[in-house]
Structures are given as structure tokens and as C-alpha cells.
């Protein structure tokens, strides 16, 4: 039975390399291979994927989704594949480690502020944060807590699914865990969708004017 915490496989110059890091490299390799194979065999398939992502993201963000679809699509594809390879027996999924999910959430955090400053200028962005001045502390707490909840939601979902599978496997190893593993793949892909949608909502809120996000959402 797999441990709750990732194990250190080897150390390079006092830097411990955990098994989730190795499976992250495996995930990256898998995605690259899939892209090359699909581009060689079915030329339109990647175009279908990109246009599907663009359609979904622009349904959330309004019409200005084009500059952000590369970031959000990368997040969606990486998290989806990373959650799904947890179903392969020996491989640990990379999002099983809280360091991976915190890194992904920090990417979203910094890119939200960078894109907001780039769109509205530094003073305009700060003014947008503190538009009614008394909500500024709440806004700051919200910025931090939503980053924390992005990381913890992904980590907790993947970890809980894998632990349920491990417990059932230790009781009845034959056929019973198979539907649970299939459900785990489904929740993994759903979590990738949710992570992407939430990142899109945050970026839309940072880039938009002073009106709330809900009016932007209705437009799409």
C-alpha cells in the first residue's frame, strides 16, 4: 500500500528527488509524445482540442480570451494527464504531492496579478483592488485563501481518491477496485476542468473593469 507522503528516491547534490518529481517528468514526456504522435497521424485532432478549449474559456471570460488560452490550456492538459496516470499501477500521480499543487496554484496567483497589472497599469490595478476602500483587507485575504484552496482542493481530491482505492484494494484486490479507479480518472479530469475554470474566473476578475465578474459571465 502506497504511503500518504511521497518517498525520496535519490538525492542530487543534497536536493531530494521524490517519486512524484519522476512521475512529473514522465507526465511531461507522455504529453510531448502524445502531441507528436497525434500531430503525425491525425492532423485535425489538436485543432479540435484547442478550439474546444477556446470555446469553453471564452464562454467564461467573454470575448477577450485569446491571450489567456495558452496558459489555461496548459494547466488543463497537464493536470488532466497528471491525475489520470495515477490509475497506472506503479506510477504515482504528480498531484499526489502537495508541492506540485502549490506550485500550480502559485503560477495562477502570480499570472493573475501580472495580467491584471499588464492590462490596467499598476495604479489602475491597485485602485481596482481597493475600489470601496473598506473591502481592501477582505480582498487581500480572499486573494490568499483562494490560492490556498486551489492547491488544497486538487491535492485533497487526488489523495482521497487514491486512498479509497488503496483501502478497497487491501480488502478485495480482484475486480472490486476497477470501478473506483475509473471513477478516480473521472474525478481527476473533472478537477482539471474545475482548476482551469477557476483560474479563468480569477484572471477575468483581475483583467475586467470595476464591474463585478457576474456581468462578464452572463455575456458569454
Amino acid at each position: 500500500m502506497r504511503g500518504v507522503f511521497p518517498e525520496v528516491v535519490f538525492t542530487v547534490m543534497n536536493v531530494p528527488v521524490r517519486d512524484t518529481v519522476i512521475s512529473t517528468w514522465f507526465t511531461m514526456l507522455l504529453i510531448l509524445t502524445m502531441v507528436f504522435v497525434v500531430r503525425r497521424r491525425w492532423r485535425g485532432a489538436l485543432g479540435i482540442l484547442v478550439s474546444w478549449l477556446l470555446e469553453n474559456v471564452s464562454a467564461i471570460m467573454g470575448e477577450r480570451a485569446d491571450p489567456y488560452v495558452s496558459l489555461l490550456g496548459t494547466l488543463a492538459v497537464f493536470i488532466g494527464v497528471a491525475n489520470a496516470i495515477g490509475a497506472v499501477p506503479i506510477v504515482v500521480s504528480p498531484t499526489h504531492d502537495i508541492n506540485t499543487t502549490v506550485a500550480l496554484a502559485l503560477i495562477v496567483f502570480f499570472s493573475v496579478h501580472y495580467l491584471g497589472v499588464k492590462q490596467k497599469g499598476l495604479l489602475g490595478y491597485l485602485k481596482g483592488l481597493a475600489t470601496p476602500l473598506f473591502t481592501l483587507p477582505l480582498e487581500l485575504i480572499g486573494q490568499l485563501s483562494r490560492t490556498l484552496s486551489l492547491a488544497l482542493r486538487l491535492f485533497g481530491n487526488v489523495l482521497s481518491t487514491e486512498m479509497v482505492v488503496a483501502v478497497i484494494f487491501s480488502l478485495l484486490p480482484l475486480i472490486v477496485p476497477v470501478p473506483l479507479i475509473a471513477f478516480g480518472i473521472f474525478t481527476g479530469v473533472l478537477q482539471a476542468y474545475i482548476f482551469t475554470v477557476l483560474a479563468a474566473v480569477y484572471i477575468a476578475a483581475a483583467v475586467a473593469g470595476n464591474e463585478p465578474v457576474k456581468t462578464k459571465k452572463k455575456r458569454g
Partner: protein
């Protein structure tokens, strides 16, 4: 019973109680959210896509409260900061 054993027993009982209460309430509320969304979808099928997207996001946010409880239980059971004082 020495104090280390007492802390261990209290930890196990507390995490069992926490996971019980902390999954019942989010499950009930998620059921309410789904039933309301289904009512809305059957009444107005033309907005079903938008309702489904909003439903997924709100379900994720509701679900994360239960996930927090699970994480607290895992920390209490596997990485308890209080037990280090008793078992060196």
C-alpha cells in the same frame, strides 16, 4: 494511562468525529445544490449549459470544505504535531 496514549486516543476519536460531521453537512448541501440546478434545467432547458458550468464550480467550492476536513484528519493521524512531545 500515560499522557501519550491519552493524546493518541483523543486524536483518533476526534478525527473520526470530524470526518463524520464534516462530510455529512457538505453532502447534504451539495444535494440541495444539485436538486435546485436540476429543477432549473428542467424548467428552462435553454440555459442548461450555463447552469451546468456554474453547478460544477459551486460543487467544487462546496466540496473543498469536506476536503479541508479530510486534510485536517490526515494531519492529525499521520503527522500529528502534538505527539512529538511524548514520543521522542
Amino acid at each position: 494511562m500515560d499522557s501519550g496514549t491519552l493524546v493518541t486516543v483523543v486524536t483518533i476519536v476526534a478525527s473520526a468525529a470530524a470526518i463524520t460531521l464534516g462530510t455529512i453537512i457538505p453532502a447534504l448541501m451539495e444535494g440541495r445544490a444539485v436538486s435546485k440546478a436540476l429543477e432549473g434545467m428542467t424548467r428552462q432547458p435553454e440555459v442548461a449549459d450555463r447552469l451546468r458550468a456554474t453547478l460544477f464550480i459551486s460543487m467544487a467550492i462546496l466540496e473543498s470544505t469536506a476536503i479541508y476536513v479530510l486534510l485536517i484528519c490526515l494531519i492529525l493521524l499521520f503527522a500529528n504535531p502534538l505527539l512529538g512531545r511524548f514520543f521522542q
